[in-house]
Amino acid sequence: METLERIIQEHPFFAGLGDEFMDLVSGCASNVRFAKDAYIFREGQAANTFYLVREGNVSLEIYAPQRKPIVVATVGVGEVLGWSWLLPPYEWKFNAHATANTRAIALDGKCLREKCEKNHDLGYEFLKRFAQIVVNRLEATRFQLLDVYSAQK
């Protein structure tokens, strides 16, 4: 059976993270499971965890009155779910809806935030990685906004 540490180490998000940091990180990690249709977190809740998806699929949804929830993106195997834990106000902006049985590594955001405050080098490593995720998301979102497939009249 794989140790949590090895699973984390092998996840693409943590590629290149030195051993000295791995200990700090694994101390905040745990295995979690979500049944199909469970809500992993909801908009407005305190954001204190992020997840490395190992199996399954998660939809990021927004609820709008008079409409069914709108899926704005999906997060799959090998991807990272949630970055609102890293920066204030530490609050989720979307709902995370498991659309299949989902297994993930949950990382305690509160615990990690404290460690990052004490160890700025660790903090920098996290911010670099999250910055990349956010940038990728932003570009993809801008592309999505263009609605390139619509028939323009």
């Binding site: 899926v71 704005v72 999906t74 195997v77 609605d147």
Partner: protein, 281 residues
């Protein structure tokens, strides 16, 4: 076909009979047409297009979207966006349309032999790529792995859904589909087509990529392919401009020094890379 007949076929529409009109999405239809003359006139290369003429209404360039191995008919997937395409999709079986062609350059099927074929399609861009997919599946051992990345606006606008599922079941084949806007009942990927790349297991050193979709989409995709290690020389795009004569005389389809109708529509990315980011070219 004699050279003279080929020349004539290029200039004057040849009558064809509509055999079937199937609705793919709310605004897209697939027409199957048979030609009254010899079957050899139906030969085409994946990526080529025909000029379809509606009696007294007008002519439009439509990519051939059918199986190149089928010589009995020609298949076209048409999106109804204006007066002429609306007339085209309103045809009923038994009616005649005029066909000129086929025209243009095709996908690099010969160069693709022995290589991993990566097909990236956006929206109706899957239509001119479908013949390339058929070609690979019809001659499976001539080609390496087949990877299809397909993005559409919403689940309702996905083309060829049954075939997508069938292709996914083929050996040595990966089919990944995404939509910009999901909905209840859609359990697949939501996000632009570039988000599929992380799940595509590519062998970039031996890949050949064929891309078709809106120009913005193709620019994002070529960038992403580059980041994945697929070379510029191995990437091909299908471009679109206003085409009227399809024989390089009316001048409308010029894209820089290239005539899309005869130098394209399929271009090696290396050839048009410097033109893609020029505004109003």
């Amino acid at each position: 076909m004699t050279a003279a007949a080929a020349q004539l076929d290029a200039m004057v529409p040849c009558p064809g009979v509509v055999r079937q009109v199937a609705k793919d999405t709310p605004d897209t239809f697939t027409l199957t047409v048979s030609r009254e003359n010899e079957r050899e006139q139906n030969a085409f290369k994946p990526g080529q297009f025909s000029m379809l003429w509606m009696f007294g209404v007008g002519e439009v360039p439509i990519s051939i979207s059918g199986d190149p191995a089928n010589c009995d008919q020609l298949t076209y997937t048409v999106r109804s966006v204006g007066k002429t395409t609306e007339a085209l999709v309103s045809h009923k079986p038994g009616m005649s349309i005029g066909i000129r062609g086929p025209f243009g350059t095709g996908w690099p099927m010969e160069a693709a032999r022995g290589r991993e074929v990566v097909i990236v399609a956006g929206g109706i861009g899957l239509a001119p790529l479908r013949p390339a997919i058929y070609e690979v599946l019809n001659h499976r051992d001539l080609y390496g792995r087949l990877v299809l990345l397909y993005g559409a606006r919403s689940p309702r606008e996905l083309l060829y859904r049954k075939e997508l599922a069938a292709w996914a079941r083929q050996p040595n084949t990966q089919v990944l589909v995404t939509v910009d806007y999901g909905g209840l009942g859609w359990h697949g990927n939501v996000g632009v087509v570039t988000t599929l790349f992380k799940s595509a297991k590519l062998q970039p050193a031996n890949s050949i990529a064929m891309i078709c979709g809106p120009e913005i989409m193709m620019r994002f995709v070529t960038r992403q392919l580059g980041e994945c290690g697929v070379t510029t020389e191995s990437t091909y795009l299908s471009m679109e401009r206003n085409m009227q004569c399809a024989v390089g005389f009316c001048g409308h389809c010029q894209y820089g020094p290239h005539f899309i109708c005869k130098d394209g529509p399929v271009f090696p990315y290396a050839k048009i890379r410097p033109l893609l980011d020029k505004h109003e070219l």
